[in-house]
Assembly symmetry: D2
Homo-oligomer: 312 residues x 4
């Protein structure tokens, strides 16, 4: 794995055919779809991958099958975030056995640790992990941030590769970029796909863009333009990226709208099933139809003959 | 199990001798200690029991051993709160096999469900659970409350026994008590031990008081006075209950201070080990010594000969 | 003014006939209405009185006229909460000139002060104030709480009479009651009317109940029962108090629903105008009609002849 | 005033010599200092200007004197944010009388308005204002954001010039930039100085940078580089801008650290007094000395002879 880790590393969706049943054919098509778009790595079992909602058995199967499919073409990162230290270590061992390249961990997320507790938790974890670790800052869901002084302390550990930030707080990202100047092999990746371009313009190394499940090439192009400092091209591509999230990610009161929208869009493209894991629930037929229409607006799906002359 | 479930039901601490190793002798002494204090039931694997921090293997062992020790003397409730539907059901089956009386579930707690998603999650869960369910409202940690209309909807299901509220929001509890008038077998239990007395005065059925691990009789007496409407006695006992939490629960920046304080106090009493599960960390020697002194102030530990003549 | 201040002290609504125009006749009827209900004091220019939304000119007029109308029959407290120290002092001087008995101040509420800044702000204020001060804890709106150690420090100042808590956090109130044991003339008043009864049962001195604008006798009776430790009567009256807030206080997305509901109810009773100050907006005609019907349900308004035979 | 409003518009500090006493000579020096640095406008009475902490009398004096000093050299914007509609209008009339170019309003900030209430408040305000209005999004302090659909509705009003965003939420800023494509004279200004460069790279029109009180040229250069799409120069200047905020803005628990740090730095430069308005409090002597040393590190203050040979 080259260092620092950079580029677009999609947080892979987890295709399902039924509760606790992996959509293996869908998984294969999805991986080939994103690799064909030029992505620079894969991140399995993140928030977008619905990791916490899945049984451990299914999570293991997903890692096994994905590593086999990827077969070394790009680095594979595996989420091991867990509330239990013991379960996190056990899962990292499985990822290592499957040939994954690194693991990713957010703070344990039920009773939020203090910063000293978090630092010790990660350092203790490093004594047990068989693979390098990427930190995952996700305070909106874990309620425990990796504060900058904690990151500064953990950067001293060579086995920690970098940090993915999903806070959406670009002032914090500026602080991460200042810290990153201390280690040339340290990577700062941006979680929210709407902020990846500006993060990379300011010096970040890439993005873990959920939308790259659907439009891998768009996000790879956006990253490439930003890494080259091509501001006019960034602004043009950014509009397309924003349009994608505006049209596909908001569905009623759910907080998992982007997962539902992306799974549904991929089902319309014939790539995988749209079934989410509980507590998420499938979109309604009307919402599914709306997504199909919007995919056409986005140029991602040709208008089918059956729609000619349809009144709405 | 009588209905509605009432009285003091301690959220049992989980004694550990090492990482992923249950303190079986300590567990036995702890259970006998609280039963001797007159508690009306036990709640295993709640927040105080550090459930999310434990391996599933250890959680299973704890339920197996605890049910064997209790042997039907009081009802045993088992926490099955999980981010994964499949794991929650699997654990409930284990609790049922061990002879537990009911299970307890907070909302899945990584990506917070909307109220419709939460309602469907619980209703779907009811089709799979082998035991009755008590709801567990803990919005501070799960970020997803059981809002009153959701509770009203779930009350229609006979298999749901009641709700334990740990929000600390007594206006919400007033709403629960208004709803409770619809079902004579429905139970409203108060989580925060500082609020149990006033909750019971207003009509709640009891408390899941962490402090009852240490001083079961105090909390049983407080409950009894409140249930009898004996306001002067309530105010007198309440002062002792507040003193306990003021002296033992705050340690630095950790949010698990009450767990650390209670485990340490019980180790001073010779009941069980004080080791917490990660990400919590043991108190320092100085803090442990402070707790020993405060236990003497509380009248829970005789001053030992070695302390005679010590200046502070 | 007797000490500690106790009983029901309504946060008086501010009747308006137009923008920046006081409804003087309505004010007189409103004051007589609450005094007839037996309230123990009046609190002008609190949150319920829409103080921050009013011009200073109108606020001054309100204090002048209210003090004249009350004419010493009960103590009058005047809110001087302001973001500006200088304006707060100036307003306190006006209140003193009008014959008010005490002033009430929440923390300055734009840039939230730290606890040391808050403590110094209040102590500095005490050197300038011509009247005794009651603290007003309202962290939901000011973002700056009076934390318990700050209250403990401020209690050393004889000119500070007590604290009104509107946090709704009864664990905090328990802490206030523990502190209150240090000063026999110190008063703890409960803001949320739904929590006044249980607060008084546990030792609080009274309530600043918004609903007492409409039903002063109900809240006086509830306080009296709680102060006497009459638990069965408290529970019975509490149900009526809860019904009032459930039926009248929630209107769309506004956070000032209780003000709109109470003003509208009082206009139906012929007491004062229902006009709020910006940014609040009058209820719709349909909502006004709903309130009229609900007042009948609550027994506060006789069903008028025109409603006989109406289907809904 | 050219449109859209663009460039660096410092939120001017309010120099004070004593409580409620303007430092007029300091104000004159401060204005000349920032104009000499090339700023494109001035914003009086924002958060950095401590507006809510000042008496209305002093606020009026500040506007009168500042407009006289500026004398048309750059546009002057005046904050009229108030909890009271009537006071906001009155202040805007004063600003107009003094020759200011526009006014700026955040939502009324005690009881946070709902979005419909906020929209109506602003539209009603527009019927009374004598000057064009810039919206001011500051949800961290007002608790009421201008949500994107509200901005979209208010953009239809020609008298509204644009929006200054101080949320620090760059995803929201991306939404504002998408909306801004509808009106070529609409301005999006960035509040946090750490985010101005990346905002301008993505299409924003400028920044209301507090640090420009101290280093106006640095922020003007940063803006110019970003507006020209010169990414390498942006990254280089950004490091200097970040160093300034890292070294000068954090002092204990106060939330007004940047105001205290900037006022103190300007007093070391001989520009104006460092006295803040309550509830802020002056830094300690040790902190003042630290700032002096850090100004030397930043190259903003020459090392004085007295420091030669000093060990620390």
């Amino acid at each position: 794995m080259k260092s620092p880790l950079s580029g677009i590393i999609p947080p892979l969706l987890t295709p399902l055919t039924a509760r606790d049943q992996l959509d293996v054919a869908g998984l294969e098509r999805l991986i080939e779809h994103v690799l064909a778009g030029g992505v620079h790595g894969l991140f399995l079992l993140g928030t977008t991958g619905e990791a916490p909602s899945l049984s451990y058995r299914l999570r293991r199967e997903l890692v096994t099958k994905s590593c086999r499919i990827v077969n070394g073409r790009v680095p594979v990162l595996v989420g091991i975030t867990d509330t239990s230290f013991v379960e996190a270590v056990r899962f990292a061992e499985h990822a290592s056995d499957c040939g994954a390249d690194a693991v990713v961990a957010a703070p344990p997320y039920y009773l939020p640790p203090s910063q000293p507790e978090l630092r010790e938790f990660i350092l203790e974890l490093m004594t047990e992990l068989p693979l390098p670790l990427m930190l995952y800052n996700m305070p909106g869901l874990t309620q425990a941030p990796f504060e900058l002084p904690t990151v500064a302390a953990l950067m001293q550990h060579d086995g920690i590769l970098g940090i993915k930030d999903s806070s959406g707080d670009m002032k914090y990202v500026q602080g991460l970029l200042q810290l990153a100047r201390q280690r040339s092999d340290w990577s700062v990746l941006i979680g929210p796909e709407e902020l990846t371009a500006e993060g990379v313009l300011m010096g970040a190394h890439g993005g873990v863009s959920g939308g790259a499940n659907l439009s891998p090439k768009l996000f790879v192009d956006l990253y490439t333009a930003a890494a080259a400092g091509d501001v006019p091209r960034v602004r043009k591509l950014q509009r397309k990226a924003l349009q994608l999230s505006e049209l596909l990610y908001s569905w009623g009161q759910t907080r998992g709208g982007w997962i539902l929208g992306l799974k549904c869009a991929l089902s319309h493209l014939g790539i995988c099933s749209d079934l989410p894991a509980e507590p998420l629930r499938s979109l309604t037929d009307a919402e599914r139809e709306t997504i199909r229409e919007r995919l056409a607006v986005l140029g991602l799906l040709p208008v089918s003959p059956s729609e000619v002359g349809v009144n709405e």
